[in-house]
Symmetry: C2
Subunit: 348 residues, 2 copies
């Protein structure tokens, strides 16, 4: 099947290629009869202009890349799979397609070069990277080369770079969690931190400390532990924490995110601690899995649809050189009270 080109259409319709092009692009200066004549031939021959030709004359792909740079089982977490869907839907609402790419990690050069190539060869008009460390040299490199990059959970204080667009969790969630536990009467609060190379983890860590200090709560180092952002890492960290408590458990544990909280659940159950009777647990994120966990997890929920919509929209505005696009947006979370925390007598 020989591919049909605008040249063929021109001949069949008895006009020049210029005119065919004008019709296709809907220019105003084509009289209705000519337009109809050409459209008829186009339809009859199932002609579709080839991207390859259009690209060369400066058209853009109308496609953004979506790079998932984090490990983890995407399909099992409604949270992470919603990132994909939200991005695709937000892009579609602006007439953009998305090229999806799952990288296992960004620690090897091969993967990094792959991402760079995709950005550089004109396959996408911009790219969104999710799950990268807050300091990733190749991202700076792409930005310096003029590529538009959208980032989720990535923030550099004081920088204002026109082609780097970010969306972040707001900076209060850690403190929000402590405030909430304080109100419930908790004074002995443990913290499982996330992965400190992620902006959100650093932020939450700071929030916890701020909250503890605000309420004059004693920060006991045996109740404070560095974890990670996965369920497994939460489980491991919680086990160490519980072990070294030597029965002097905190009354509540703040997990760096919901996945970690699920890990804490598992560790607690192994130690025979009932949630929330023996120990309260709070997550951050609002993963729907927390609705079905036992007990349902109290957490700070974020509207990820909103977050990705914001990110995608601003990335596309940047592609289209809209002026004054907001570079960095912080989205606030809201306390979702479920069943993993109990009221206790703070004076005890």
């Amino acid at each position: 099947m020989k591919r049909i080109t605008s040249n063929d259409i021109a001949k069949l319709a008895n006009v020049s290629r210029s005119t065919v092009s004008r019709v296709i692009n809907g220019y105003a200066d084509v009289p209705p009869e000519t337009r109809e004549k050409v459209m008829k031939v186009i339809k009859e021959n199932h002609y579709y202009p080839q991207l390859s030709g259009q690209l060369l004359t400066g058209k853009l792909m109308k496609t953004i890349g979506f790079f998932w740079a984090s490990g983890g089982n995407i399909a099992n977490s409604p949270l992470t799979s919603s990132f994909f869907v939200n991005t695709i839907e937000a892009a579609a609402s602006r007439g953009y397609l998305v090229l999806t790419c799952i990288l296992n990690d960004l620690d090897n050069d091969e993967n990094i070069n792959y991402v760079k190539k995709i950005f550089m060869e004109g396959r996408i008009d911009a790219g969104i990277i999710v799950g990268a460390d807050n300091n990733e040299p190749f991202i700076d490199e792409l930005i310096e080369l003029g590529k538009i990059v959208g980032l989720f959970d990535y923030y550099h204080e004081g920088e204002n770079i026109s082609n780097r667009i970010t969306v972040n969790f707001d900076r209060n969630s850690g403190e929000q969690v402590i405030d909430y536990l304080y109100r419930l009467g908790h004074r002995k609060i443990g913290v499982i931190d996330g992965n400190m190379s992620r902006y959100s983890s650093m932020q939450r860590h700071e929030g916890y400390l701020r909250g503890m200090m605000k309420h004059n709560l004693r920060i006991q180092s045996k109740w404070l532990i560095y974890g990670g952002i996965t369920e497994t890492s939460g489980y491991e960290a919680a086990k160490i924490l519980l072990e070294r408590c030597d029965k002097d458990y905190p009354t509540a544990i703040c997990a760096s995110n919901d996945a970690v909280a699920f890990g804490v659940y598992k560790a607690c159950s192994e130690y025979g601690l009932k949630i929330p009777d023996d120990i309260s647990v709070v997550g951050i994120d609002g993963d729907l899995n927390g609705l079905y966990s036992n007990p349902p997890l109290t957490t700070i929920s974020f509207d990820f649809k909103d977050m990705f919509y914001s990110l995608v929209t601003r990335v596309i505005d940047t592609i289209n050189e809209k002026p004054d696009v907001e570079r960095d947006v912080f989205i606030p979370g809201s306390l979702t009270e479920r069943k993993s925390c109990k009221y206790i007598d703070g004076a005890m």
Copy 2:
């Protein structure tokens, strides 16, 4: 930032564009010194060949489209979100990218034209469509126009079309379910059918009937109902079925898939029927959600990773004109016994 082209590289390296091209494409007839000289200039200038130029000379995009043509909440079902991930990963293992596209439905012309355009404009080398009816004229049209299309759950008996590649659930699951229930002693078996425009639903329906007849079980029309493929449709159908039973309930219900089975759970709970004590329920698919449902759902599980790997691989082989690519593949399921069926005395 002016875009750098192979011409610039040629000048900087003191060679012709032909040579630059030869180096980039790794042709053998370039002496090492020339190659190194050119590569050095390429690296220093962060030059990446533009797709736009390459496309015009016959290169392919190395990208397949993934069209999700079904409704439903993708993010909440580990099953459906695994379809995306499995496709992306299978494609990546062959060096292909995937352009993902979520269509709400294929009932309106606008969506159909959108899909056709994406196929036709040379943006993808082939496309995979999931969730389409088994008879969808525009798919035939794409195939006639020579496009390579991969289809999940789509089969036309007796046709053998070289550019239509399919993967399907094998044709035994319905019968497998009846066999299993029969072995448990069930004789009064109800069936909730799916959406009969889907190949899998037709297939399962036939399987149920085959199984019932094989075991000489009476097919009572009040225990047979057309449902759909979503949880809501399963719920609605089950309510009607239970209502019209007038207490003469079947001892087991076969759901057309797991989502429908979850709908049956909900309806049963409203009718005060305990699963599996009062009524047994079997699904088909192997959705991981069934692991956490109450009670965990007995089902026929399919290896979707395998299914998508098979589909993607054969689609890519077809793009690359590999001879004798298998057009239609059926993947067998396996009984996953959980807690939703009980043994009863068949003679009762």
